[in-house]
Symmetry: C2
Subunit: 239 residues, 2 copies
C-alpha cells in the first residue's frame, strides 16, 4: 500500500523532494488559498491559474480572467478578488477563469510542480481528495503551505485529517510529522474551532475581521470536486 509523508513547512521541502516525480503532492493552505480555490470550483469556475507575482496576475485581465491577489491577508488594490472564499460567489465566478496569487499557496504550488500529480485540497473536499489519492495509488506528500515558512496549526490539522482517512484505507507512514498531525487532528476534531482559537493565524484573522471566513474554511465534505494541476492551470473534476 502507498505511503504518506507530511511536510510541515515549505522550508523542509528539500528533505522530501527526492523521487517527487513519482509521488502525488497535496497542497494545503486552509486559511485560505486552497479553500478559496475549492470554493471557486464548487461555484462553477472553469480553471484557475496560480501566478507567482501580483504584476503577472494583473496581465491576465486582458485575457478575460478575473484577477485575484492577496498579500499578508489583504486584497491588493485594483484586483477583482482577494483570498476570501466568500467573495467567490456563483454570480461572479460561474463559467469564468481566475488568475490568482497568494502569500503562501502559490509558492507551494510552484515548488511542487515536478510531482506526478499536484492536488489542491481543503476540509471542503477532504473525502473526495482521499478518494482521488486512493484512485491514483502513488505515495503522497502532504504539503502544508504554512505562513512564511513557519509551522501552522490549521494546515497541520488538515494534513492529519487526510492522513487519518488514508490510513483507515490501509495506507502506511514511517514519518513522525504525519503521526503528529494525525494525533493533533484525531484528538481535537470534535472541537476544531475552539482548538484553533489560540492559533496564530486565527488571531491574525481576528485582527483583520475575517472570522466569518473561518466557518467556510472548516466546513467538511461540502463538495465532491477535486482540484489538480494540469500544465499551468488548476482544473476541477467531480469524484
Amino acid at each position: 500500500m502507498p505511503k504518506i509523508e507530511t511536510l510541515l513547512s515549505p522550508a523542509l521541502f528539500h528533505l522530501h523532494s527526492e523521487g517527487i516525480e513519482d509521488k502525488q503532492v497535496v497542497i494545503i493552505d486552509i486559511l485560505r488559498a486552497t479553500t478559496t480555490v475549492v470554493v471557486a470550483f464548487e461555484n462553477g469556475v472553469d480553471h484557475v491559474v496560480a501566478s507567482a507575482s501580483v504584476k503577472e496576475t494583473q496581465t491576465f485581465r486582458d485575457k478575460g480572467y478575473l484577477v485575484a491577489a492577496e498579500r499578508n491577508g489583504i486584497t491588493v488594490e485594483g484586483f477583482d478578488l482577494g483570498n476570501s472564499p466568500q467573495d467567490y460567489t456563483p454570480e461572479l465566478v460561474n463559467g469564468r477563469n481566475i488568475a490568482l496569487t497568494t502569500t503562501n499557496g502559490t509558492r507551494a504550488l510552484n515548488m511542487a510542480e515536478e510531482a506526478e500529480t499536484v492536488w489542491v485540497a481543503s476540509f471542503r473536499n477532504l473525502t473526495a481528495t482521499a478518494d482521488a489519492l486512493t484512485q491514483n495509488g502513488r505515495d503522497v506528500l502532504l504539503f502544508c503551505a504554512g505562513w512564511k515558512d513557519r509551522f501552522n496549526m490549521e494546515d497541520t490539522l488538515f494534513a492529519g485529517a487526510l492522513a487519518e482517512q488514508l490510513m483507515s484505507r490501509g495506507w502506511s507512514t514511517e514519518d513522525d510529522a504525519t503521526l503528529a498531525a494525525m494525533d493533533l487532528y484525531t484528538r481535537n476534531q470534535s472541537q476544531l474551532p475552539d482548538f484553533l482559537e489560540q492559533a496564530s493565524h486565527v488571531q491574525r484573522f481576528k485582527t483583520l475581521h475575517l472570522e466569518s471566513d473561518l466557518e467556510v474554511c472548516l466546513k467538511t465534505d461540502s463538495s465532491r470536486i477535486v482540484v489538480k494541476l494540469d500544465g499551468d492551470k488548476l482544473v476541477g473534476q467531480t469524484m
Copy 2:
C-alpha cells in the same frame, strides 16, 4: 512575562535567529545526545566539550578526556563511549572530562551558540531546567535537534512538556509549533512509551537493539542538575 517559541527542525532556525543574542535556547535531542549529557553530569563528569567532527573529538584524548563519538546511532570505532546514556557510569565518568560528537546534537549546539544562554535538557532534568529558565527570565527558543533536519516526535514531546511547565508559571506563546507540541505532550503524557512506539526513531532503536536506553531517556525529573554552555564547554549546576 517571557515568551516561548519552538523550533521543530534545525532547518527552520533562520526563522528564529533574529534577536537570538537576547534569548535563551534549550537544545533538545532526547534520543539520545542531550539525555546522555545530563546523565554524564548526574554521574559526576566535570565538563563536556561538544565537538563537530569525529577527527577533532579524537584529539581530546591526548588532553586526558574520555572521547565519545556516535554516527547514525552507533559508537564510532576507537572511541571510549558512544551515545548510550547507560555507558556513562559513575565509575567511568566521575571527575573526568568528556569530548563528544553526535549526529544531530552537536550541530544544534553550534547553531545556537550566539544565544544569551544555551541549555541542554532532557526529561531527566525537566523541572530543574524550567526553574533555570524562569530564573534567567529571558524569552526562550526550544530547539528540537530532530533527525537529519526532519521533525521528530520525542524532541517535540519534550518541547511540549517544557513549554507546559513554563506556561503554568505564566509564560506565554504566539507560536503554533509550541501550541502543537504542548497538545501532543499533554494528551499523551500518561502513555509516552506507548505513544512513541510508532515513532520513526524508536523503530530505528529497535533495529539497533537499544530499547533499554528508552527507559533511561524518558525518566522524568531524576536530576536537579541543569547543563549550560560556558564558552566552548558544557558545565553542570545544581538548582
